[in-house]
């Protein structure tokens, strides 16, 4: 028998909903963010305890065992994952959430009494399945299981339209009379839509799709709240849907892209496809010692960190280099592009991990005017976010994306692994400019060598 009457459980769900809103609000400042997240977790705990005490449930030992299994899988992964692999983990967690929503909707179909509940079921199935399958594909792209490039094949657009039409037809059937096999068909077709939607998304657009799918899962959860008549699921899912939509738009704007362009650009002839060929034009490459001299006798250095730094786990070494330069009286700042790394704000997380002081990090709008007074811009494993093609070459995949204007600095040093283009797959003209020096090698190794040479000056 339920311990709580419905009034008490409704009030406790309200408390949980308020906790979630406070959790999002806490993120407006780094100081309150962690407490906010803990309040959110507390809200989730209250909600889960409430559901056990307020509903007439059978199979409780099984349910507790399943919760234990889920926790045992997720907790250690979440504790141990490297910060560079955060986007993959977010994609995966999002996918399983969408999958759970879809399964719940499928099981509730036999209990659905009216057409609008069945409509909510169809929406949950479709959006949840798209989110699950799409997240699996984004995970595979980020993890290197699939190519990070846009994957397009002839007839893709036609296939996509065909699958969608059949999915809508099956969905309409479920809404009107509700046969179970049609609901299974909606689920399977939704999975196919998810795959077809994300396969053609390539390169730097993948993180934007993670954010979009996150919003999708929120909507699927909200729709499942309609199915179950549960207000907390509706509020929590809608909050995530709304916030995910804003975040997705902000990310797309930071890259000078439209969300529809990202999703459907490849269908129209592959705007994300760039060259993967390395050019054989001459560049000026140099030794770690020469770079150390450039840095050690500068007055102002701006470091531009990119994903190459993250992959090499070089954030600690770059922090040491900053300290060594500052010990010589040199002003050092970091210029952070909004999409440096693999997610917006990802680079801030990585540098925070290396204890880089908060006030050293400058956002793009703050720092762009400063490059003119900068002696050396040190670009570590970034390419696309400093590529002037974004301003000068209409038709380039990154055209229109705001960039860090490192070309204004008196000297530009690129730490790069090779001449291969960056994530967006296009060449950077800046590499061939007279004020540019290249130091080839793994970002962490190169930084360590430069650091040693600076200390020896």
């Amino acid at each position: 028998m339920p311990l709580f009457p419905p009034v008490v459980s409704s009030l406790l769900y309200l408390v949980a909903a308020v906790c979630f809103i406070l959790a999002l609000r806490g993120l407006s400042s780094p100081k309150t963010a962690r407490r906010g997240n803990l309040i959110g977790a507390l809200g989730a705990l209250i909600a889960v305890v409430t559901v056990f005490l307020a509903s007439r449930l059978e199979n409780i030992p099984w349910i507790l065992a399943a919760i234990a299994v889920g926790t045992a899988i997720a907790w250690p992964i979440a504790r141990r994952v490297q910060m560079t692999q955060m986007p993959q983990l977010v994609a995966m967690l999002n996918g399983v959430g969408g999958g759970a929503a879809a399964l719940i909707a499928l099981l509730e179909l036999p209990h659905a009494a009216d057409w609008w509940t069945r409509l909510a079921i169809v929406l949950t199935l479709l959006i949840g399945a798209i989110s699950f399958a799409g997240s699996v594909i984004t995970f595979s792209k980020l993890q290197g299981i699939l190519s990070a490039k846009a994957i397009v094949f002839p007839g893709l657009a036609l296939l996509m339209v065909g699958v969608l039409v059949v999915a809508v037809a099956a969905g309409a059937w479920v809404v009107t009379s509700g046969p179970f096999f049609a609901a299974v068909a909606v689920l399977v077709l939704g999975l196919a839509v998810g795959v077809l939607l994300v396969l053609p998304v390539g390169g730097a657009d993948v993180p934007i799709v993670i954010s979009l799918l996150n919003a999708f899962t929120g909507l699927a959860v909200a729709a499942s709240g309609f199915v179950l008549g549960n207000v907390l699921l509706i509020i929590a899912g809608t909050l995530v849907g709304a916030s995910g939509t804003i975040l997705t738009r902000a990310m797309a704007q930071a890259m000078g892209r439209s969300v529809s362009g990202i999703l459907f650009g490849a269908f129209k002839g592959g705007s994300t496809a760039g060259s993967t060929e390395a050019s054989d034009r001459p560049v000026r490459s140099s030794s770690a010692e020469d770079v150390a001299v450039l840095l050690g006798y500068a007055q102002k250095v701006i470091i531009v960190p990119g994903y190459g730094l993250a992959v090499a786990q070089g954030q600690h070494t770059v922090a040491e280099l900053q300290q060594a330069l500052e010990a010589r009286g040199i002003e050092v700042e970091y210029a952070i592009h909004p999409v440096a790394g693999r997610m917006p704000g990802h680079m801030n997380v990585l540098l925070a991990e290396a204890n880089v002081p908060y006030e050293s990090l400058k956002e793009m709008s703050e720092v762009n005017g400063e490059f003119k007074q900068t002696d050396v811009a040190l670009v570590v494993g970034a390419n696309d976010v400093v590529n002037p093609a974004a301003k000068t070459t209409p038709g380039s995949p990154i055209y229109g994306m705001p960039i860090l204007e490192v070309g204004d600095a008196k000297q530009v040093v690129f730490l790069k692994r090779s001449m291969r283009p960056g994530f967006a797959g296009i060449e950077n003209e800046l590499l061939y400019e007279p004020q540019t020096t290249l130091l080839f090698g793994d970002a962490k190794d190169s930084l360590a060598k430069v650091l040693a040479a600076v200390k020896a000056l």
Binding site: N37, G40, E58, N94, G97, L239, A242, G345, P357
Partner: protein, 98 residues
Amino acid sequence: MDPISLATITVLAVFVGFEVVSKVSSTLHTPLMSGTNAIHGIVLIGAIIVAGQAHDPWVLAVALLAVVLATANLVGGFVVTDRMLEMFKGRAKKGTDA
């Protein structure tokens, strides 16, 4: 609850979501993504309700799978967000000390 009340709550939640998130600084966009990700893991309570009403063994099995997935979403999301924000906290403190 009737559909109109549910729709009212949904529309209000949309506005709250827009309002709250538009104030988040771009520095915290990655934790925002993982934090909202954690919140939709609350679909766990839906999974628990469905599993708790299952009589058929296969319905129970599918519902328990949903419980496992939703728990992973919820727990993993909050834990990983906490880990990220812990680092931001350390940095902010260092900033005020200096």
